[in-house]
């Protein structure tokens, strides 16, 4: 196998964004007829690397070779022309068009005067669909298909060209087990035809089932390549999460206060069901699970963004019902949302105004907002959280991810909450700031706040939590204390392998 020239080779790719070095000299190659897994935590740089390969981002340094021929990817069209095809996690299909039109989008076969050659179009598409053994035909409207079948349309698109490399980005995220089998067959076929396949996934079971080699990224840097047959989960996990950052286990819980928030049998449709847990003052409760396990939805329910379909929420022992975030905030529940930029910040506004946004109503002198009162609140939280910003006038969009996150946290601390829920506290934040945020969360607990941390990063959850709730498919599988938790135990719980619903 090593005799072949690689179908695809990346060399020393560097890409920086303001405040973050997303890729730091990453090299990576895929042989023809190989399924090569690309693994790493969220934020390790997998997506950025693939965007560089697809021409969506231009690398700051580094080279791309297709069959050892150096290539510059200026955009998706060029990637396609080079035979590099992407099957995206988020499907990019025109739902109102037919399967055939989607498959040949941009290069519909034509007759004279620019008329579409429908007969050829449908015939060619049906031939591809047959290879994929699907049960719909070229004329079906894409919007009528299930997600799994829509994914097949994306794959069909990759088969229209003489693909040299096909990249699957978390392709099984929304597939059932039966659908996965079909997908794996398709991948096996492609592999037999000598196509190089990049397979991005978090799921160990799949990795061991279908891949030949595994390359690992951590914090934007290449950490090595393993032969799948000669490694195990432990080694992969170590390479993915081991880091110089202090992520020692959290010591045993200190003296805790009374229960601040308790959920009993809380459900919201099928998003999550029968969740029972509590968090005490002075405690950090971690929620760990795969994307889609229902953790964020629980947070949104506690914050009044979703209405529970069953169960109750008790705040300091009193049952409460939350119709909206307005009510949650009034009762002292705050949420630092999962995506800072989309849900947490008003990027065009300055630092001060973002911090005072929820309470600006109370900062008025006569009919007007009092500048002085606002600035003093900003100064207070800038000092307390060590926010690095040139001035309060700086638009939040110009700050680094870590400082943006501190602004969101400062916003809620200034409201003096009882319960602080932080969803993915360090997503997209570089390593140095990560540990600052971690320390901050620990510190807040020490000061007596009840803190709930949701994270997809195991070291983070282990580092900050006093107790950890493991979720799988909308259910709480198990609850661990800091003393009893093990990495294996956690992984098994969030993969649905062990335990009855707690």
């Amino acid at each position: 196998m090593t005799q072949h020239t690689p179908a695809l080779r990346l060399e020393g790719i560097v890409k920086t964004f303001p405040g973050v070095r997303a890729l730091d000299g990453v090299s990576f190659s895929v042989l023809p007829g190989e399924v090569h897994a690309l693994m790493g935590e969220n934020g390790a740089g997998k997506s950025t690397l693939m965007k560089v390969l697809g021409g969506i981002y231009q690398p700051d340094a580094g080279r791309i070779f297709i069959e050892e021929r150096e290539t510059v990817m200026r955009g998706p069209l060029e990637a396609k022309a080079e035979g590099v095809m992407f099957i995206h996690q988020e499907l990019s299909l025109a739902e109102e068009l037919s399967v055939a039109e989607n498959v040949y989008l941009g290069e519909l076969p034509r007759k004279r005067f620019g008329r579409v050659d429908w007969a050829t179009l449908y015939a060619r598409t049906d031939a591809i669909l047959q290879k994929l053994k699907v049960r719909f035909d070229a004329r079906t409207r894409v919007g009528e298909l299930s997600i799994a079948n829509q994914q097949m349309v994306e794959i069909a698109r990759a088969l229209t060209v003489n693909a040299k490399a096909v990249i699957f980005d978390e392709p099984t995220a929304s597939l059932t087990d039966a659908e996965k089998v079909v997908l794996f067959d398709v991948i096996a076929d492609l592999r037999a035809q000598g196509v190089g396949i990049v397979y991005i996934s978090h799921r160990m079971e799949e990795i061991f089932r279908i891949t030949d080699r595994i390359s690992i990224l951590r914090d934007g840097a290449y950490r090595g390549t393993l032969e799948t047959a000669a490694t195990d989960e432990d080694e992969i996990t170590r390479m993915m999460i081991g880091r110089s950052l202090d992520l020692s286990r959290n010591a045993a819980a200190p003296d805790l206060g009374p229960v601040a928030l308790r959920a009993e049998g809380l459900s919201c449709g099928h998003l999550f069901e029968d969740a029972t847990f509590e968090v005490r003052e002075g405690e950090v409760l971690g929620f760990y699970g795969l994307v889609g396990a229902g953790r964020t939805e629980i947070a949104e329910t506690l914050f009044g963004l979703r209405t529970p379909t069953a169960g109750r929420i008790l705040l300091k022992g009193d049952e409460i019902s939350l119709g909206s975030p307005v009510e949650a905030i009034a009762r002292g529940i705050s949420l630092v949302p999962e995506s800072r930029k989309e849900q947490g910040l008003v990027l065009g506004m300055n630092c001060r105004d973002n911090i005072t946004l929820p309470q600006v109503d109370d900062l008025t002198a006569g009919p007007f907002v009092s500048d002085g009162a606002e600035i003093s609140i900003y100064d207070q939280y800038r000092d307390r959280l060590a926010i690095k910003s040139p001035s309060w006038r700086t638009p939040v969009g110009n700050l680094s991810g870590g400082n943006q996150q501190k602004i969101v946290i400062g916003k809620w601390l200034s409201m003096r909450p009882e319960v602080l829920i932080v969803d993915e506290p360090t997503r997209g934040i570089d390593v140095g700031s990560k540990s600052e945020i971690h320390n901050l969360l620990r510190e807040l607990a020490k000061q007596g706040y009840a803190v709930i941390v949701i994270s997809s990063e195991m070291p983070e959850v282990l580092h900050v939590s006093d107790r950890i709730v493991a979720m799988y498919h909308g259910r709480i599988m198990r609850e661990f204390t800091a003393a009893e938790v093990t990495e294996d135990g956690l992984i098994q719980a969030i993969s649905g392998l062990t335990g009855d619903a707690a």
Binding site: I56, V326, G348
Partner: protein, 333 residues
């Protein structure tokens, strides 16, 4: 840092630079081409400018608020006409006639109430149905115009009250009532947008509605208030104009919404919300009115006005895009 400041200044000041350019151009061109030796830049001319700019200017101020908020209101032209009709028609209702001059403030009140009511309808629909404001107010534009025609058919609504005319033509410092109302509205709404909680929230909601919801802002009621505000301002514009003219044609106010939007966008307000300023809109309104006056002054055909304004609008937005470097990360189309 200094670069940032310079850029902000350039972006904010662009419209005023453009106005200056217009003044110089029309003054010089007027002297070269115009047979009359009249100066273009002269006090009377400028005072007249403010008065002529008032009807659309008052509406544009309201439009700025709604657009910063991330919405739009296409129904203002129809609201303007309907409020004018209600005002003039109410003067001839029997109980109003019995009041004599006392009926005038009441008629104004009816007009403003009409505007508030129409704005309330728009706002409620946008809030409660979640349908895009563009569609809702497009429907309202047709619907309200329908009401205008139902009121009096194709006939103009007519009522001339000399006391009312006197008030409309009263002057302070050479400024007639409509110009004064315009300036007062600019000042008031400027304070609202820059100094109050409502203004702050308007920017936040327009910039990132999700973040605003998450911060506990009551987004729905906030949007509703802004639609009521623009409705009232459209009616106020009608009050200022029709008190003097005394006659509403059922087609009056058509295209006002588009002129208002043009002025707002020229003034630097983003179509997608979150950014913009009342002062910028004042600049946009004056720039358009100057262009109309100036083209007349140099003897250009009035038909050329729209062509020129349209061209300038696109040129200004292209410049804005370049200055903001928004295009850099976007896909080429």
């Amino acid at each position: 840092m200094r670069d940032e400041r310079l850029k902000t200044l350039l972006k904010g000041g662009a419209i005023w630079g453009f106005i200056l350019l217009e003044l110089v151009f029309f003054e010089v061109a007027g002297r070269i081409w115009s047979l009359s030796g009249n100066a273009f830049v002269d006090l009377d001319n400028m005072l007249l400018l403010l008065k002529q700019a008032a009807p659309i200017g008052i509406i544009a101020v309201g439009m700025t608020v709604v657009m910063i908020n991330g919405n739009i209101d296409l129904s203002v032209g129809a609201t303007y006409a309907l409020a004018g009709i209600v005002m003039l028609d109410s003067m001839s209702w029997p109980f109003m006639e019995a009041l004599g001059a006392g009926a005038i403030p009441l008629a104004w009140g009816f007009a403003l109430l009409t505007g508030a009511l129409l704005g309330l309808i728009n706002g409620l629909i946008v809030w409660k149905t979640g349908v895009d404001a563009f569609i809702v107010t497009l429907g309202a534009m047709l619907g309200f115009r329908g009401l205008v025609f139902m009121y009096n058919g194709e006939q103009p609504t007519y009522h001339l009250d000399w006391t009312m005319v006197d008030i409309a033509e009263a002057e302070i410092l050479g400024l007639q009532t409509p110009a004064l109302v315009f300036l007062a509205v600019v000042l008031g709404v400027w304070l609202l947008m820059t100094r109050t909680v409502h203004g702050r929230n308007a920017y936040a909601i327009g910039d990132n509605r999700d973040a605003a919801v998450n911060a506990g802002l009551r987004v729905g009621p906030h949007i509703l208030i802004n639609f009521v505000l623009i409705g009232v301002l459209a009616a106020l514009s009608a009050v200022a104009f029709y008190s003097g003219s005394g006659s509403v044609n059922p087609n009056d106010g058509m295209l006002f919404e588009l002129w208002a939007i043009t002025a707002v966008v020229l003034g630097g307000t983003k179509l997608t919300g979150g950014r913009g300023s009342i002062i910028g809109t004042l600049g946009g309104v004056l720039a358009i009115q100057l262009l109309r006056m100036g083209l007349g002054h140099i003897g250009a055909q009035t038909e050329t006005v729209n062509l020129v304004i349209g061209t300038i609008l696109i040129a200004v937005l292209f410049l804005d895009r370049q200055l903001n470097r928004k295009g850099a990360e976007e896909l080429k189309i």
